[in-house]
Symmetry: C2
Subunit: 344 residues, 2 copies
């Protein structure tokens, strides 16, 4: 498998996106987000998405260069329409706006309608934390990763991720999770590797539990988070459809909307307007110490805080680079050739 630095991955993505006609500034934003997903180890949201994104441009679902417009705003909120530009472009704009408004007003809310795939939600919440703010975000995610409601056996809901973050010393505490048992991408990865998936992730077309990832693509569905307590994951997912999909005006029922019509909800708190940063840092460090000091279950070496795995992977991968699977690299090269450019 070829090895790349994170910067090289961003450069490759930039090359392909600009060759496809994406304006350079926007291409740079999308490329950086894709490479960043590889950096933290979420390869399913990394450069592998280039093929899908290019298809979405061809099919008219992604409209490169479309203006991200303000539909409505007040001192503490903004409602944006992404007009089907890249989700990363709209989300990056939303975070900038949200941070600016929160610094003025103490807190802020930014919603985005008609937004394409934003990539990894935790990337945006982490940026807010690195700017000294606390944040919460959610996306009502449409697309092929259909989740069954609790008690149901057909796909109805998106994997509807939620992310929350806050400063943690020099870095950030970042929760970034789907409200389904898993993201669709992880099932796809298992399928490609010929592995089975854990129990409780998916059901087959008849609603039977299965560990065979192929069953998901054969009429099956993802399950909501919680197993026998799946009404909780289902409930979170429903409320994300409300906040991301209804309040934003994006609409919610995937089947009657163009692919890509996500709704995004972002909420920012300017931390120092609520508690002095030094006092916050003390509470945080005392808290993390208390949690980490817990007696461990057999086989568990340490208690990991939200986002800690990603932080470690990022340190490693920014230093040592990332392996890209041969097949992915072949597809990327093929794509570059088709666009009349070359990469690597």
């Amino acid at each position: 498998m070829p090895q790349f630095s994170i910067d090289q991955l961003a450069e490759i993505a930039l090359q392909i996106l600009t060759a496809a006609g994406v304006p350079e500034d926007d291409a740079r934003t999308v490329a950086a987000e894709l490479a960043d997903a590889n950096a933290v180890g979420h390869d399913s949201h990394g450069v592998i998405r280039l093929m899908q994104y290019l298809e979405m441009i061809e099919q008219g679902f992604v409209k490169p260069g479309a203006a991200v417009e303000t539909v409505r705003s007040g001192p503490a909120f903004t409602l944006l329409d992404a007009n089907f530009n890249f989700g990363q472009v709209a989300a990056t704009r939303a975070v900038e706006l949200g941070i600016e408004q929160a610094r003025q007003a103490g807190t802020s809310t930014v919603m985005i309608r008609n937004c394409n795939h934003v990539g990894r939600l935790g990337s945006y919440s982490k940026r807010a934390a690195e700017s000294g703010l606390a944040s919460m975000m959610a996306v009502n995610a449409p697309g092929p990763g259909g989740v069954a409601p609790f008690g149901g056996i057909e796909r109805r809901l998106g994997t509807n991720p939620i992310s929350m973050s806050a400063p943690w010393g020099e870095t950030a505490l970042v929760l970034d999770m789907t409200t389904s048992a898993t993201a669709e991408g992880k099932v796809r990865v298992a399928l490609q590797k010929g592995e089975s998936v854990p129990e409780g992730w998916i059901i087959d077309a008849d609603g039977n539990p299965t560990t065979n990832p192929a069953r998901l693509y054969d009429g099956g569905a993802l399950l909501p988070l919680g197993g026998p307590l799946g009404f909780k994951g289902f409930g979170l997912s429903v409320m994300i459809d409300v906040f991301g999909g209804m309040l934003s005006g994006s609409g919610v029922c995937r089947t009657d909307l163009p692919r890509g019509a996500n709704g995004v909800w972002m909420y920012f708190v300017d931390l120092p307007q609520f508690i002095e940063r030094g006092a916050f840092d003390n509470l945080m460090s005392q808290y993390v110490d208390a949690v980490r000091s817990t007696k461990k279950a057999p086989g568990v070496d340490e208690i990991l805080m939200p986002g800690e795995i990603e932080l470690r992977r990022e340190t490693d991968r920014r230093a040592n680079g990332v392996s890209v699977p041969d097949e992915t690299w072949r597809q990327i090269q093929e794509l570059a050739q088709k666009l009349g450019t070359s990469v690597g």
Copy 2:
């Protein structure tokens, strides 16, 4: 078991609280919340709490009549200090303030520090929905219901509930859930009934899974939501400690704070400032229809929306009253006698 109407339960609670020296307005608020919990079927948060609340007054943890003060505020946020008055009194004030500010500013945030048990969080979010707003709320809940971090076997976290709500036609969609597998109260109820609890709720003092509720009170701990995916429930819980416990300035590490020092985070969205109410209602009804139309798993009669069970129970119980277990009723009468009053 004696039977009472919801109004009678509120009257009984009011009688006891005023006899204990709680100012009448505050007593009315607390009594209404307790009776409301009984009405929706959450008896563990109902009048059974009177005994605990009175103990907390005696021990100085609840300070009846303490002023709920504004520590800091802006056009779109308020930070309150409950000064250890009843949580219901502070939370009710917070919801009123939050609704008022959101109507002015589009969105609002209210945090409460030094707050006692607020009762059922869903009661407050529902009130916002009934006023036409969408809301999210969370409490970093201390107390005896200790939850182990994911991978740990000792108590560290509260059951840290989260509630989200939005208008749903004439009523409200209300998610109200702990981020642990279960609330401590449900384990206690199983213990009192001599029943076992489902797998995945608790571990014993050695970290072994158990279905014996007694093990929780014998050095055991509650588990975070998610089972093998418990890092998600744990992550949500941690972030609620951040938003409720740190940003509010309440502090977070239960062991070094007086019992009752909850932190509350509430967020309100004035719906019509984002989407016209009629359009929202159409999206909601189309969405609920789509979700409900899902093919059901064997043995499942219908897909229930968040809060739907509570809505049905409330209709039934407001019409037909509630049975109070003999032992609870005996304790309430004993309490009344001790306070020099009588009930029922």
